[in-house]
Amino acid sequence: MTIGSIPLRFKVDIDPDQCMLCGRCVDNCSYGVFRKDGDAIRVNSRNCVACHRCSAFCPRDAISIYEKPTDYRSHPVWTREVRENIFNQAKTGKIVLAGMGNALPYPIIFDRLVLDACQVTNPSIDPLREPMELRTYLGKKPSSLSLKESADGTVELITKLSPNLQIETPIMVGHMSYGAISLNAQTAIAKAVSRIGTFMGTGEGGLHESLYPYQKNMIVQVASGRFGVDINYLERGAAIEIKIGQGAKPGLGGHLPGEKICADVSYTRMIPEGSDAISPAPHHDIYSIEDLKQLVRSLKEATEWKKPVFVKIAAVHNSAAIAAGIARSSADAVVIDGFRGGTGAAPRVFRDHVGIPVEAAVASVDAKLRQQGIRNKVSIIASGGIRESADVAKIICLGADAVYIGTSALVAMGCRVCGTCYRGQCAWGIATQKPELTKRLDPDVESVHVENLIHGWTLELAELMGAAGINSIESLRGNRDRLRGYMLDEGLLNVLDVKTVGA
């Protein structure tokens, strides 16, 4: 059988009337699309991944990139993607790896939920004039308070409070490890979150020395590979997160190939240079919900109960019951990572087909915890496919306390969602460890972009709340009355506990 060459995914055109042969495209493309040939730039479109680095740096707008320049015979079942996947596996007999989040056109629940606003009967609040309370505390809240009044009238709090994280906006940046992304990218995020007063996750790659100045805004992750984990690491973090699962590949571990383990990544992960970093699918000291409780408590014992411990799970069918177990494990927050969550690399079949949307998972987790009277025992952090401030507002209405963003923060630093992170050739210096590429990302400049994004979303969130007559994020949380479902079926409306538009 001869499959022959697969049609081009992208076609790169250079307008010769515009091109001034400056060669910036040649220098910027890390995939080998361009080469200078005398008085022309030659193009090899087959290498193009549409990361737009060339066109973004072309001073004359001479470059155009077209997707799918060759048509297949169209067919609703045998789509281009289905056919090309078969070609690939027919040639290789292997598991297909893909990058970024879910690429199938499932309906997006966020886009079928609409927010409320005040008209006449209750006035909206102007955030310019009135204070809007967006500060959020993540962690356990006591179910009741015991107070003692002494003879001189002073009141003393008897209840022992659990440590909480204070965030100035309910938007944090999720766990993207050093190894998956570059140190410059992590540094940019670290600078941004510390200026804003929010937090970022380290991912399972340890904490690089140069990030120690930002450690009070870092949530350190403990995943199944335990890379970079020692007592110093645990003590440096403001909180500790146990990663059980990830929305992009529920049920799987991780696998950072040896070629990405450069000297510095090796040092931070505490593994030899060039060796594969394999995170097993389960934690091999957690085979049950009771074992999870032991790891949570073990981490707390090791850090003398001074730090909140979060548990991150992928959104799957039984998330609500699992979260109820987590809430009883001494954990302080549960992170629900929906099936749109991004990743550097995941088997395509998992990325596209395993897990459930974060909207449904968060709503059901919140409902289950309330039914069982344990909602105060954990905060809920939603992640996976949070694209804009409206998504933040909606997921908070569905019961989340805060969100993690990932891909959005990368896009703020230049990422074009080309989805080829697993190649390690990222022309934007984000998902690569090659020094000539990582140096393209200036942490000072990009930290401003990430900060701007979170700041912009926070302003919009305040406006949305004000329009709904709400001046505190506490009043938005779980406030499903501020949502209506538009063209959602009855089953889903029931799960979300949201009424239909018009009702």
């Binding site: 596996q89 297909v96 060039g274 097993p280 073990s298 014992e301 090791a302």
Partner: protein, 248 residues
């Protein structure tokens, strides 16, 4: 200032017990003896102090010495699961047997278990530069010994019978480090990615001081251990999964 203290753990919760241990270390105590230990988990979690020795009389619960960095813990009794879990530095000496996942993800120091261990012993042990964890088991081990091992040294002596492991999955997914067992294990019990080769004289010389130290620690005769034949189980490849994937 006393350099030695005794703690009675009878009826004591693990958090209170650990607080006493930490307070003693902070006070400069070098030798801590804990009596009547009965299932308290997390003993010595995350503690530091290279010159501190803790003697545990009784049966500690799971995750003994997890994240520990420096001290020596000697257990007179059996230990529950995962002693030495993600341990960084120091020693755990168990005069008895231990449960599953002994030395899980251990990155430095040594764990000696005089008798037997449960499933997944030494799973995902790793090493980096001068940090090379060592797990030595006197007796036998159950299935999945050294699974996903990424570094370090694991020795099973089989004092209760040779070969010391007769269950499957030995070294499955191993991509670093090495396992030595006395005798030869059935090749059907080797996990995916593992290979077994008789240990060379050079390799036996390398493990000799460790075996001698182990024998001395538990008052055993090292001669029969040193004159035996060993098999070395190591990665068939440093990249066990390299051929599993293709790009989209």
């Amino acid at each position: 200032m006393a350099t030695q203290i005794r703690i009675d753990a009878k009826g004591l919760h693990y958090t209170s017990l650990n607080q006493k241990i930490r307070a003693a270390i902070a006070d400069g105590v070098k030798e801590i003896i804990i009596d009547n230990v009965l299932g308290q988990r997390f003993i010595g979690n995350g503690i530091r102090g290279d010159d501190v020795t803790i003697t545990v009389n009784g049966v500690p619960g799971g995750d003994l010495a997890m994240f520990m960095s420096g001290p020596t813990i000697v257990v007179h009794g059996n230990a529950d699961h995962a002693p030495g879990n993600t341990m960084d530095k120091g020693n755990v000496i168990i005069h008895g047997s231990a449960g599953d996942a002994v030395a899980h993800s251990m990155r430095g120091g040594k764990v000696y278990v005089r008798d037997n261990i449960g499933y997944r012993g030494g799973i995902h042990m790793k090493q980096y530069l001068e940090k090379r964890p060592i797990l030595v088991v006197g007796g036998a081990a159950r299935a999945f010994l050294g699974e996903y091992m990424a570094g370090g040294l694991l020795i099973v002596l089989g004092l209760t019978g040779i070969p010391p492991i007769e269950e499957r999955g030995v070294g499955s997914g191993i991509h670093g480090g090495e396992i030595y067992v006395r005798g030869i294990i059935d090749k059907n019990n080797l996990g995916v990615g593992a290979q077994q080769i008789p240990a060379t004289e050079e390799q036996k010389t390398m493990i000799k001081p460790i075996i001698e130290d182990f024998a001395q620690t538990f008052g055993l005769d090292s001669v029969p251990l040193l004159t035996s034949d060993y098999s070395r189980i190591s990665p068939a490849s440093a990249r066990p999964f390299a051929n599993k994937y293709t790009w989209e």
